[in-house]
């Protein structure tokens, strides 16, 4: 099998983009037919076929003639760069964009679907779990699972039956929680499993998961993927969108690759082993020889010292969320904080950043040898400290405003004079970042709500780069970001460090930390339990530090 990238990478810049897309899609047609041939021998039980789907938004063609076939009982992975159209394709499939709002056909179990909404697709057994979870935090597990679908007679809910069924569903997804406990008391991983239990309660036949593991730790991800594999045996098909290619190559039966809204290839993982590099080549149109940019660290003097930093939970003041943390950061250094989800890393970062988290915060911070007051966010920013949040929708973006307006938000004075905004300057800044870190959008007047998840992340990052920090704290900076863009973000981090800035990276992906950092702290249950230089660090060492600390 030949690949799109082989044609893509030889192509010179001068060639028109249209040529490239026709060449890749024409060629993928060929790939498809070969695939079909090779599979004819196996039992062909197609549950879903999407034919020639095209969907446009004002100024963007999000999907252009994309076709996709899913067999009964397979895990079908959907991959592609940020903004490639993965979520859009799944929104078409699940009725979020109803029939008539797109071109093409959806054939499901031999029947052409004309969905009017999510309720329609759910009644057919097509259930989507979106990139952002949709649980009601202050309702119980049972209430959430049967929300809108209550077990009742004459409008009166049958609680014993509801709870019994909930326990049963929870068992199926490997949980043993009390059906009456509140969803907000569960961790993200468990919430994700609750979503799946909810899907099961609706007799799911085709489960769509849009980046389900992007905010899960490794263990929770494994549980979830094992569950999908289990579903296969019961004839439930899954479509899995993920940027974590190692997961994909582990569980997928078929991989569909999208690029810029067009189909690039459909890869059959049983016909041949598909390497991650192969997927990457199809995704980005060229091979990535390295996942991390090369770098020669130039580490200077101490920039920030944190001593005995202790933070209490905002609602339960007796709980220490961070306790007695000592942190040293040097000029030009990339410092990683490793740890499991819930170790207190975000809380540490946010409490440092203008006390935006927690109460009864104590401890001392010195920047450039002087004790500083970081009591408000403004003071923190003025002291040169910036924090890029992990939760871009809630804390990062003003979603109904444009890219252009979001980027200067943390540093408005830099695009203003005497309090008057200079819109040209603002526009220039936005365009500058759009180019520099490759934000994909028709133009910078696009509302950020309409951007794909990964591109939203890039806008948040731009906002803080524009604030020109001395010390930049990045919290899960590559969550939901494609491999190519990850490389770009790592490059930005490298360049910042080379320019003498200091960077703290919080990440749950250990390979990433090992790939880009100079030094690591390992955090567990609110404490730093170890410090490693990157030369001596390995995943095993980090894990064993965490385990030892927990014991």
């Amino acid at each position: 099998m030949q690949h799109a990238d082989s044609s893509g990478s030889v192509m010179t810049q001068a060639e028109a983009p249209s040529q490239q897309s026709t060449s890749s899609s024409g060629y993928s047609g060929e790939a498809n037919s070969r695939e079909a041939n090779s599979r004819l021998g196996a039992d062909q039980d197609i549950i879903l076929e999407m034919r020639h789907i095209t969907k446009s938004f004002p100024g963007v063609k999000a999907l252009d003639d994309v076709s996709l076939k899913v067999q009964r009982g397979e895990i079908h992975a959907l991959v592609g760069e940020n903004g490639a159209g993965k979520s859009t394709l799944m929104k078409v499939l699940s009725g979020v964009y109803p029939h008539g709002k797109y071109a093409g056909d959806i054939v499901y179990n031999g029947e052409v679907l004309a969905l009017r909404g999510i309720a329609d697709s759910e009644s057919k057994g097509i259930i989507i779990i979106h990139q952002e979870l949709a649980l009601v935090p202050l309702l119980s597990i049972a209430e959430n699972i049967f929300l809108g679908n209550e077990i009742s007679s004459k409008g009166i809910i049958d609680w014993p039956e509801t709870n019994r069924k909930t326990s049963e569903l929870l068992r199926k997804v490997g949980l043993s929680e009390n059906p009456e406990s509140l969803v907000s008391d569960l961790g993200l991983g468990k919430q994700q499993l609750i979503e799946i239990a909810k899907a099961l309660s609706k007799e799911v036949k085709l489960l769509i998961l849009d980046e389900p593991t992007s905010s899960l730790n490794e263990k929770d991800s494994d549980t979830l993927l094992a569950l999908l594999t289990e579903f296969k045996a019961r004839g439930i098909s899954s479509i899995l969108i993920s940027h974590k290619l190692n997961e994909i190559s582990r569980v997928a039966d078929t991989i569909t690759v999208l690029r810029d809204g067009t189909l690039v290839s459909t890869l059959d993982c049983h016909a041949q082993a598909i390497s991650e590099d192969h997927i990457i080549r199809d995704m980005v149109g060229r091979s990535l020889s390295d996942r991390y940019p090369p770098r020669t660290p130039q580490i200077g003097d101490a920039v920030m010292q944190v001593r005995d930093w202790t933070v209490h939970h905002p609602l339960y003041p007796d709980n220490k969320v961070v306790s007695g943390v000592d942190l040293d950061l040097r000029r030009g250094e990339v410092l990683g904080i490793a740890g499991l989800m819930g170790a207190g890393r975000t809380e540490l970062a946010m409490s440092l950043f203008g006390r935006s988290y927690g109460r009864n915060i104590s401890g001392e911070v010195m920047i450039n040898g002087k004790a500083v007051d970081l009591g408000t966010i403004r003071k923190a920013i003025d002291a040169g400290l910036c924090y890029v949040t992990e939760d871009r929708k809630q804390y990062g973006l003003v979603l109904d405003q444009s890219i252009q307006r979001n980027i200067p938000l943390a540093n408005l004075n830099a695009v203003a004079q005497f309090g008057l905004i200079d819109e040209n300057r603002e526009l220039a800044v936005a365009n500058d970042y759009r180019e520099k870190i490759n934000i994909r959008c028709p133009d910078v007047s696009q509302q950020t709500i309409n951007l794909s998840g990964g591109n939203q992340q890039k806008v948040v990052l731009s906002k803080w780069l524009f604030a020109d920090p001395e010390i930049l704290i990045l919290d899960e900076p590559t969550r939901g970001i494609d491999v190519g863009a990850k490389y770009e973000i790592y490059t930005i981090i490298r360049d910042l460090a080379a320019a003498g800035k200091s960077i703290i990276v919080i990440s749950s992906e250990m390979p990433e930390l090992l790939g880009i950092c100079d030094r690591l702290y390992v955090m567990n249950e609110g404490r730093f339990v170890g410090e490693l230089s990157v030369a001596e660090a390995t995943q095993e060492k980090i894990m064993s530090m965490i385990v030892r600390a927990s014991a």
Binding site: M11, P17, R405
Partner: protein
């Protein structure tokens, strides 16, 4: 990726923006202006031309001035993601305060006006303090304020009406700017002011368009640009001609024009405005961007209080007395005007001009229906339906996009 993204970006950028696309994305802004024109035309026709008679037009402006003044402040409050239910009561209270000071204590009217504006700002600040720093929902704080100041008005006036005001004070509302040219039959100075305003507006928008052209970001088709400016200029000149034919431009109109331009400028061009929109759009993100959300919210309410006080002075001057009933249910008209003007309940969206046009839509309907002899009962029903329709249109529009 690097070898293809510039091309993709180029391809996306090169895609021409059609007029259709432009209409779709700007339907709301034009829609509201067109709605106002249609409604005016409708009543002009139905009332047999009474609506735009110079006397009636002058009246229309005087009648709605206090609503518009408050709508300007309310827009900022709503954009910041809050609401202020107390403005009607504050208006009444300040009117009463002015009456007591001027009529009963014989205090100079300039001093009184200054004290009243400060009192309004203080009232707004007091409410804003709880909303901004204690995170008490604005709905509740201002609902309390509404009751409190309605009560204080009654107490201050001891249940009586107080008036009349001295001549000079009345001039706020009943005065007209003097005719410096002293022409026969028509107030030439007022007309010239109208022409001047129209010209300035045209020059400003032409300049900004030329500027956009230079950096290549024009998206408004020229025909639209031309038509819009022509209509606006014509409307301003025509209306000032009508007003000039009666007694000229009312003083309040000058106050309003001043407020509208200052606040439009603040909302769209300054960092303060930008920050208020950001707070309404996503308060947490704004806060984490280093914006002092509390202080801005506080100031927004203080400003609202001051404008409500100004409206109170205008209203008292117009009625020439302060009555316990003054300001009753005004907050509803003001809030309705802002929403008709396209602001969003959840904050972050809306324009000053939109709110002003929304207020005029309400005003023209009130006035037109009264001329037609439609009872207050049906007037309420119709206004309610118009508000609902405007918001439905908004939501529909948003879902379609």
């Amino acid at each position: 990726m690097n070898d293809e993204t510039p091309e993709t970006a180029g391809a996306l950028k090169a895609k021409p923006k059609t007029s259709m696309h432009f209409i779709r994305t700007h339907l709301r802004e034009y829609g509201i202006l067109i709605a106002l024109i249609v409604i005016m035309a409708f009543f002009q026709f139905m009332t047999g031309g009474i609506l735009l008679k110079p006397v009636n037009l002058t009246n229309l402006i005087l009648q709605n001035s206090y609503i518009i003044i408050m709508a300007v402040g309310m827009l900022l409050v709503i954009v910041a993601g809050h609401i202020d239910l107390s403005v009607g009561s504050v208006l009444g209270f300040i009117g009463a305060l002015a009456a007591v000071m001027i009529v009963e204590y014989d205090i100079n009217y300039v001093v009184t006006a200054i004290v009243c504006l400060a009192a309004g700002a203080a009232i707004g600040a007091m409410q804003g303090y709880w909303i901004a720093y204690f995170k008490i929902p604005a709905f509740i704080v201002t609902l309390a304020g509404m009751l409190v100041f309605k009560g204080l008005t009654l107490w201050l006036l001891a249940g009586q009406s107080i008036g009349p005001f001295p001549k000079n004070f009345q001039l706020i509302s009943s005065g007209f700017i003097p005719d410096l040219f002293k022409a026969e039959g028509i107030n030439l100075f007022s007309l010239s002011l109208g022409v001047l305003t129209a010209s300035i507006l045209i020059i400003l928008s032409a300049r900004s368009r030329m500027h956009q052209q230079r950096i290549g970001i024009v998206d408004e088709p020229f025909a639209f640009f031309f038509a819009k400016n022509a209509i606006i200029a014509f409307a301003i000149i025509y209306l000032s001609y009508l007003l000039a034919a009666f007694r000229g431009l009312p003083n309040v109109l000058i106050i309003m024009a001043f407020l509208i331009s200052v606040y439009t400028f603040i909302a769209s061009k300054t960092t303060i405005g930008r920050r208020i929109y950001a707070i309404g759009g996503n308060e947490k993100a704004a806060k984490l961007s280093g914006i002092n959300t509390e202080r801005l919210t506080f100031l927004t309410f203080a400003n609202m209080g001051m404008l409500a006080a100004l409206a109170g002075l205008v209203f008292a001057a117009r009625l020439n007395t302060a009555t316990p009933k003054a300001g009753f249910a005004f907050e509803l008209d003001v809030i309705a005007a802002v929403f008709i003007g396209g602001a969003s309940m959840s904050g972050g969206v809306g324009t000053i001009i939109g709110a002003v046009v929304g207020a005029f839509i309400m005003g023209v309907m009130n006035n037109g229906m009264s001329i037609l002899g439609i009872g207050i009962d049906w007037q309420q029903v119709i206004k309610g339906l118009v508000l609902l329709a405007a918001v439905i249109f908004d939501v529909y529009n948003k879902n379609k996009a």
